[in-house]
Symmetry: C2
Subunit: 182 residues, 2 copies
DNA sequence: GCTATTATATATCAAAACGATATATCAAAT
DNA sequence: ATTTGATATATCGTTTTGATATATAATAGC
């Protein structure tokens, strides 16, 4: 019980660097960490409310013209919660790959469908890899290397795995084509 | 709306090979496909009920002594639903890596904690890789190669990615150690 | 033979995440 | 001038997660 809401830690991690609005948080998640984590508005906004009630963050309402905006700031208590989580060694790592699922159960269908599914996946990865490599190169050029080491390491994780995916795509297609199609 | 329940397709995929109970289904998911998909009882049992109502599967109750058992069987309509899903080219592929998350936000903590987190991750992967390789070797020895090609391909995906993870672990640890610790 | 443990089997529940949608303002481009 | 896209917050139904409860059958150890 009293399960830990993972999104809380993501938000606290982001807020430990700078004050942000819910919308900003979504953008950050969609940016640098999107290849190993995701978040939605339906996830972020309730979490912000909950954490404000718990005193982990404080809010600051501003309005520019008719436009409202709520910026969140991490408290000392929130900072402690983040540190506690970082120290815990258990971590859940999981992937949900529908492409693999389709391939695994694809025996019921034609060989061509499986090859096509791999190609669609391959294209997506190639696109993602391109973006990630650009991001990684930009990081290396940045002056404050010490501060960016963790960003580099996570980006390198993405690059390594994406390259492994592409390697597998080539292999898988070859295997499927060699045996002729149904 | 009427969003597609992914677990339905997993269950239909498994039932397309053999009749199974809810418990069996959980075991199958925990087995060969666990490295790219997960399922829980709280997910499986309601899905079975729902699909039975939709006519995608039929149930068969038996009782051995005081023990009750419900075995499910795929219908033609269920088989069609599976085929339709296999043909759709869109597929959601996502990973949630708490280890990466901790590393990314680890700047707030000591360098040693980050290295330790990587080591914990590394050990888990080494363990999983061992299991997967054994499974893969067993597959290659199997006579009915044609039927097992899809199993081989998905297993090879796991091996490729796990090996990429290990490669990254070594690299990441080196990077963190080179720069000395806080 | 007795007992403890593990495997089989189904089920439910609160909390969390997902994904889609709604609403409205502001900035930029056509 | 208008349409498109970015900013900003919010909600809602469905699905998933993870934990827990319950009970029987089989196996292993003493």
């Amino acid at each position: 019980m009293a399960r830990e809401r993972k999104i809380d830690m993501v938000i606290l991690g982001l807020l430990s660097h700078e004050d942000l609005t819910g919308y900003d948080i979504k953008k950050r998640i969609d940016g640098a960490i999107s290849f190993f984590w995701k978040g939605s508005f339906g996830n972020i906004y309730p979490a912000l409310k909950g954490m404000e009630n718990q005193g982990l963050i404080t809010k600051n309402d501003t309005s520019v013209g008719g436009r409202e905006k709520t910026t969140y700031h991490i408290t000392e208590s929130g900072s402690d919660a983040l540190k506690d989580w970082l120290k815990e060694e258990q971590a859940s790592n999981e992937l949900k790959y529908e492409t693999l699922l389709k391939l695994f159960f694809g025996g019921a269908e034609s060989r061509g469908v499986s090859v096509h599914n791999i190609e669609v996946f391959e294209e997506q990865i190639q696109k993602d890899l391109k973006v990630l490599k650009k991001y990684s190169e930009a990081l290396e050029k940045a002056l404050d290397v010490e501060d960016h080491i963790y960003y580099s390491i996570t980006a390198s994780f993405g690059i390594e795995t994406y390259e492994a995916y592409l390697k597998w795509c080539a292999k898988a297609k070859k295997m499927l084509k060699q045996r002729g199609g149904k």
